[in-house]
Amino acid sequence: MTLKRIFKNLYLLLFYITIANHLFCQVKDPKIFTLQFLNRIGNDTLQLNKIYTNTLGENFSISSCRYYISNIVLEDKKNNLKEEFSDQYFLVDQADRASQTILLTSSLKEVTNIRFMIGIDSIKNVQGVQEGVLDPAKGMFWVWNSGYIMAKLEGNSTLIKAPRHAFSLHIGGFRQGENTARTVLLEFKKGCDTIQILADINHWFNSRYKLPLQENYFCHEPGNLAMKYADNYSTMFSVPEN
C-alpha cells in the first residue's frame, strides 16, 4: 500500500463526513450582531474623572462605572422569530473599551428589537463560584451576603459630606422583595447588524425617583434604596435614531 492510497482514502473519508454533516446538521448562515454600549452624561460621551452636572444641578465626577448585561434576546418581529442568549454574561466597564462591545452570533436576518437584563438572574446568584466575567474576583460580588453587584457607580461630588466627598453605589440584591435585576426593551426603526446603545448615567440620579447624590451617596447592600437605583438606571438605555 502506498502513501498515495492512504491519502486517497483519507480524502474519501473526509468527503463522507462532509456529506453526512450536510445531511444531518442544518447549517444556517450565522451572522455577527454587534452591540455597542456607549455611556453618556446627557449628550456628552462619559469620560472618567471629568466633572459634570446632573439634572438635579449637582456637580459630580465618575471614577468607575460597571454593569452586567445578561439574558439577551434578539427578536425579529416581522418574521416572528427570536433568539435567546441565556447563558451569556457581559460586564460593561467604562475603563475597558473592549468590554463595551458585545458580539453575538445570530441567525436572524433582521433584528427589530432587543431585550436584555441589566444585572444577573437569581439562578446564577445561588450557584456558587462562577468563572469569566462572573468570577467574584472581578469585584462585582458580595462575599458576606452572597450575591452579585448588578451595577456599580463610584465617584466624587464636592456636595457630598463624606470622606473624600466620595459616592459609592453598589447596586445588588436578587431575593424576592429585594430584586435589582431589571429587564430592558429597546426597539429599532430599521434592522441592522450593529446597534449602538446609549446609556445616560444621569438617569441614576433622576428618573423614576429623584435620588440626589448629596443624600444617597452610599449604597452597599440590597434593599429599598438599591431597588430605587435599579429602577432609575433601567431607564437609562436608548438607541439613537437610525
Binding site: P136, W144, G223
Partner: protein, 358 residues
C-alpha cells in the same frame, strides 16, 4: 484497495474510541463520599465538583496555607483548628490580620455537605463561596482574591497540583474554592460515642443515659439529631453587645422578624468548641445552660420555645453535660487525613495516593 480502506476505517474508529475513553476518564482518582448510616442525602451538588483524591489533597494544602492571607500568618486553619473540631480553641473571638479580633466566634467545621447556608447569619448561600468571606475580611485574612490567585499561580507545586486535580492549566477563583470545598466536604463527624450507641455498638453510662433523656425533652427541638442542629435561625434571648451591635440574621434579610436571630449551632464536638454563642460570650457549658435556665431576655423575636426559659435543675445540668460529652468524635479530631499536610507527603509516591485516603 478495499482491504486497506477497511483497515483504515477500523483504525480510525479505534483511535477515536481511545481518545474518547481518555477524555471520559481523566487521570484523577475519585474519592468516595460515604453518607453515614441513617443520614439524609447531602445537599451539596457533587456533580458540579466531583471529589477526587487530587482535589482533596489540594484543598487541604490551601486550607493550611498562610499565604492565602495578606501577611502570610493566617491560614484557614489558624482559626479552624482540627483539635477544636475546626473552631478556634478557647477563644471567644479569633485573631485576624493586623492584630485584630474577628467579630464573631469561629464555628466548628464538619458535616458541611448537609448545610445550605453558612455563617452565623446565613449570609452565604453556597459552600464554594464561603472561603471568600474570611479571605477578604480585613479582620480575618485581609487579602483580596486577585492577590491570592497571583501567589498561587507563581507556585510551581500548586501549578502541578491544580493540573492534577482539574486537568486544566488554569488557576482561577472557581477552582481554588472548589478544591477547598473538596477538603471541607470530607470533614464528616459521625463517629462519636453517641453514634456508636445508636448503632448498638456501645452503651451510655447512667449519667449519659439520663442526660440523653433530658436532652430529648428539653433541647432536641432545635438541636435535632443527626446534626444536632435544625439549621434554623433563632433568638435565644441574648443581650446585644453594645460594641459589636450584632443583630444577626437581620443584617442579611433586612427583616425585623430576624432581629437577633443566629444559626442554631451543632452540638457535635461541643466539648471542644468552647467558648459558645455567636460572640463566644459563654466560656463553659454551665454558663450556656445557666443562661437558658434563668437569663433569657424576652423580646418580640425571642424564640417561643424559650418563653419560660428552659427549666433545669443542677442535677439535670450535670446529666445533660455528661450526654453532650458523648458527642465528641475523637477519631474526627485526630484523623490524620485532615491534619496539616506533611510536605514530604505532598509529593505523592507512585503508590502513595492509592493508600493515602483509604
Amino acid at each position: 484497495m478495499k482491504k486497506t480502506s477497511i483497515i483504515f476505517i477500523i483504525l480510525s474508529v479505534f483511535l477515536a474510541f481511545i481518545s474518547w475513553v481518555n477524555n471520559q476518564y481523566p487521570k484523577t482518582h475519585p474519592l468516595q463520599f460515604v453518607i453515614p448510616k441513617g443520614w439524609p442525602a447531602p445537599l451539596y451538588d457533587f456533580k458540579q465538583n466531583p471529589l477526587t483524591e487530587e482535589g482533596f489533597i489540594l484543598g487541604r494544602k490551601l486550607f493550611y496555607d498562610g499565604r492565602l492571607s495578606k501577611d502570610g500568618n493566617f491560614s484557614c486553619a489558624s482559626c479552624h483548628q482540627q483539635f477544636a473540631a475546626f473552631a478556634t480553641y478557647d477563644h471567644a473571638l479569633s485573631h485576624g490580620f493586623s492584630n485584630s479580633f474577628t467579630f464573631r466566634n469561629a464555628p466548628g467545621l464538619f458535616n458541611l455537605a448537609w448545610q445550605n447556608d453558612f455563617m452565623w447569619d446565613g449570609g452565604i448561600n453556597h459552600l464554594d463561596l464561603q472561603p471568600l468571606a474570611p479571605l477578604t475580611d480585613p479582620h480575618e485574612m485581609g487579602e483580596n482574591i486577585d492577590s491570592v490567585l497571583y501567589k498561587i499561580r507563581k507556585d510551581t507545586t500548586y501549578k502541578r497540583m491544580f493540573a492534577d486535580a482539574f486537568g486544566k492549566k488554569e488557576i482561577n477563583t472557581q477552582l481554588v474554592t472548589k478544591a477547598l470545598s473538596q477538603f471541607l466536604l470530607m470533614l464528616i463527624s459521625a463517629d462519636s460515642k453517641y453514634d456508636r450507641v445508636m448503632q448498638g455498638k456501645d452503651s451510655f453510662n447512667l449519667p449519659q443515659k439520663l442526660g440523653y433523656e433530658i436532652f430529648q425533652k428539653k433541647c432536641i427541638s432545635c438541636h435535632a439529631p443527626p446534626f444536632f442542629t435544625d439549621f434554623s435561625y433563632r433568638n435565644t434571648g441574648l443581650s446585644v453587645d453594645d460594641y459589636l451591635k450584632d443583630y444577626g440574621r437581620m443584617r442579611i434579610t433586612h427583616k425585623r422578624v430576624d432581629s437577633l436571630k443566629f444559626r442554631v449551632p451543632s452540638l457535635r464536638n461541643v466539648q471542644q468548641t468552647f467558648p459558645y454563642a455567636h460572640d463566644g460570650r459563654f466560656g463553659y457549658l454551665d454558663a450556656v445552660l445557666e443562661h437558658y435556665r434563668s437569663c433569657v431576655i424576652h423580646s418580640v423575636t425571642t424564640d417561643s420555645l424559650l418563653e419560660n426559659g428552659i427549666p433545669l435543675s443542677n442535677f439535670e445540668i450535670g446529666q445533660i453535660k455528661a450526654f453532650l460529652y458523648t458527642l465528641t468524635d475523637s477519631s474526627f479530631l485526630k484523623n490524620p487525613l485532615f491534619s496539616p499536610p506533611d510536605e514530604k507527603r505532598m509529593i505523592p509516591l507512585p503508590d502513595a495516593q492509592q493508600h493515602a485516603l483509604k
